[in-house]
């Protein structure tokens, strides 16, 4: 059952609509990430859920109740800001206790709960420090503690790790996932770091220009992107625009300019665009190609670039230009060399 639902929501700044007829539904206990390029509306979505923004149209249902007009301070959602937004005039203890004091929790109980949550984020002993005397990672954890201590019905993160260095980022995201699972709090997490999203989420929503293009678990998104945008965003660099496709016994036969490629049967129908990653293509010199090349296409190497672990080739064929990553172990191919390109049928994904 879903915990909350955004129904046909429209948000606009001035006249410009940022989200239009937006829909999103998240299940109890899930951690869902919003992932997408800068400016696609991730923060807007999160602020809408938190109640910082009002939608022009549409509904926000929370536990089947209409929350559209419920003010921020009555929602009981925890929000972790990108820049932490700790109160600079309060100690760590007072920062964390803030939400409880607003709820008129008794003094003894406040102390108890604050210390417990500081334990969870490993900040015991920092109670009397002021935010100015904390490192970035510590501020981050205070911000999380402050959001957790009110036992929120929903936890919202807006790029919480973007100000931290790479090592700390990895540690903190593991922490966040651990805490989230331990306490079973439904969480919406915004980031534009793909690895971060994939590693901690139950589901990832890929957003583009105010629309969710795909909402699935990370593995599905990785293997079966639904649209060209999603495929491109997660690293399918090569696209083939087919003219037509036909169902065959051993898969789908897709044709472009008289050349027919076999594509393995896939779960979702997909469209007429074939997508494939540079890593999944293979190249052979024309005179040394084995007999059993799947979907062989002839071409010529345009540019080769040494990437350390592999070579990257730009290959021109009759059905378009391809980027191919090939092992650096084999003898490198020269610019202008005639080659055979193999497009393994298992690796092609048909997208819209």
């Amino acid at each position: 059952m879903s915990l909350f639902t955004l129904q046909d929501v429209t948000v606009a700044y001035q006249k410009q609509a940022i989200l239009q007829d937006f829909n999103l539904s998240i299940g109890e206990g899930e951690l869902v990430s919003l992932l997408g390029p800068s400016g696609c509306g991730k923060t807007t979505t999160l602020r809408l859920i938190a109640g910082f923004l009002q939608s022009k149209e549409g509904k926000f249902l929370f536990r089947e109740k209409d929350y559209t007009k419920v003010p921020v301070n009555k929602r009981n959602f925890g929000f972790v800001f990108q820049n932490y937004a700790l109160f600079p005039h309060m100690t760590v203890f007072d920062n964390v206790a803030f939400g409880l004091r607003q709820r008129k929790v008794s003094k003894a109980s406040i102390k108890d709960r604050v210390l417990r949550v500081l334990d969870i984020v490993s900040l015991r002993g920092f109670e009397e420090r002021f935010p100015a005397a904390l490192s970035g990672g510590q501020k981050q954890r205070v911000a999380i503690a402050r959001a957790l201590v009110i036992e929120p019905d929903l936890l919202l993160f807006d790029e919480p790790l973007s100000n931290l260095d790479a090592n700390l980022r990895v540690n903190m995201r593991v922490e966040i996932r651990r805490i989230q699972q331990e306490l079973g709090i439904t969480t919406v997490y915004v980031s534009h770091d793909q690895e971060e999203c994939f590693s901690i989420s139950d589901k990832v929503a890929i957003m583009n220009k105010g629309i969710i293009e795909q909402l699935s678990d990370p593995a599905t998104i990785y293997r079966q992107p639904k649209t060209k945008f999603v495929a491109d965003f997660i690293g399918f660099k090569n696209f083939i625009q087919f003219d037509r496709r036909r169902q065959e016994s051993d898969g789908i036969a897709a044709t472009v300019q008289g050349i027919t490629l076999t594509v393995q049967q896939q779960d979702n129908a997909g469209g007429l665009v074939g997508a494939i990653r540079p890593d999944d293509l293979r190249l052979y010199p024309l005179d040394a190609a084995p007999m059993t090349v799947e979907n062989a296409v002839q071409g010529k190497v345009l540019i080769s670039t040494y990437l350390g672990r592999s070579y990257q080739y730009e290959v021109q064929t009759s059905i378009g230009q391809f980027t191919v990553n090939d092992d650096a172990g084999a003898a490198p191919l020269a610019n202008g060399q005639d080659v055979v390109l193999e497009i393994p049928k298992k690796q092609i994904v048909l997208v819209d």
Binding site: G51, K74, H89, Q102
Partner: protein, 274 residues
């Protein structure tokens, strides 16, 4: 060798302040203890502080300055809060309107207040016209008139100072407080107000010191009611008693200094941001 050149940068300022401020002030204060080039003598101070005329003027000056400061803060704070939360365009317009009065001289402004609050001024005419009062109110030439004039003089300064401080408060802090359950009032008292303490102190000092030493406004609106600055002027220019004028100047400097120190201490106590 250490780099001492950077001190050259502050040299002109230090020289200027030393020659034109520290030395004359020091000489003035020292001279108050040597009325007849004889041995040091503090009897003048002692007799002054037993003089009820002087004490009354000192008290009036303090009262007028304190009341002016409080009124400026009370009016200025909400106004500044309102302005700080406007869009950039609206804010520019409102700030220009705020500093507009600063473009006219205190003399002109005092004269316009005479027209407004005088015996036959606008206020009295209006109040008598609608029958609220029978006799005209005596506002002009009282401490109240001085306070009105001073508030008018210093309110723009207060507002500008406070807007500056409020703008430096991240808006996410307010949103954060609200998302943690704070009501509008809670956000204001728990977050906005404490973070404004530095602004309130700076604004308070500006207004207090300004009012305490103001001359034009009390001279024009205060009538027979003297304050320290007008008393000083009277001693120096009319009575030609430069010694007494120096003593008054010294007292004003010391009081100002004490007040600034107290307000800073208070601010540190109220504002634990480190």
């Amino acid at each position: 060798m250490r780099n001492y050149y950077k001190y050259l940068l502050i040299l002109p300022g230090v020289l200027f302040l030393t020659i034109f401020m520290l030395v004359p002030i020091g000489m003035t204060i020292i001279s108050t203890f040597f009325p007849n080039e004889a041995a040091a003598d503090t009897s003048n101070y002692a007799s002054l502080f037993r003089d009820s005329y002087f004490l009354e003027i000192l008290w009036t000056t303090l009262r007028v300055s304190i009341v002016t400061t409080i009124i400026c803060m009370v009016i200025g704070f909400p106004t500044a809060y309102f302005i700080a939360r406007m869009s950039a365009k609206m804010k520019a317009v409102l700030l220009i309107l705020t500093i507009f009065p600063l473009l006219t001289s205190p003399v002109v402004r005092s004269f316009s207040w005479m027209v407004i609050i005088g015996r036959n001024g606008l206020v009295n005419e209006a109040l008598m016209g609608i029958g609220i009062i029978q006799e005209p109110l005596e506002i002009l030439y009282t401490p109240t008139a001085v306070i009105i004039g001073l508030v008018h003089l210093f309110l723009p300064l207060t507002i500008i100072t406070l807007v500056g401080v409020m703008e430096s408060i991240e808006s996410d802090l307010l949103t954060a407080a609200a998302s943690l359950g704070a009501s509008r009032v809670g956000v204001f008292t728990k977050v906005v107000l404490p973070l404004c303490v530095p602004g309130l102190v700076i604004g308070g000092i500006l207004v207090f010191v300004g009012s305490f030493t103001a001359y034009t406004t009390p001279a024009l609106l205060g009538g027979q009611q003297r304050v320290l600055s007008t008393l000083l002027y009277q001693n120096a220019n009319t009575l030609n008693d430069w010694h007494m004028a120096s003593i008054l100047a010294a007292i004003m400097i010391v009081v100002t200094f004490i007040v600034i120190t107290c307000m800073n201490l208070l601010a540190n106590k109220l504002n634990p941001r480190r």
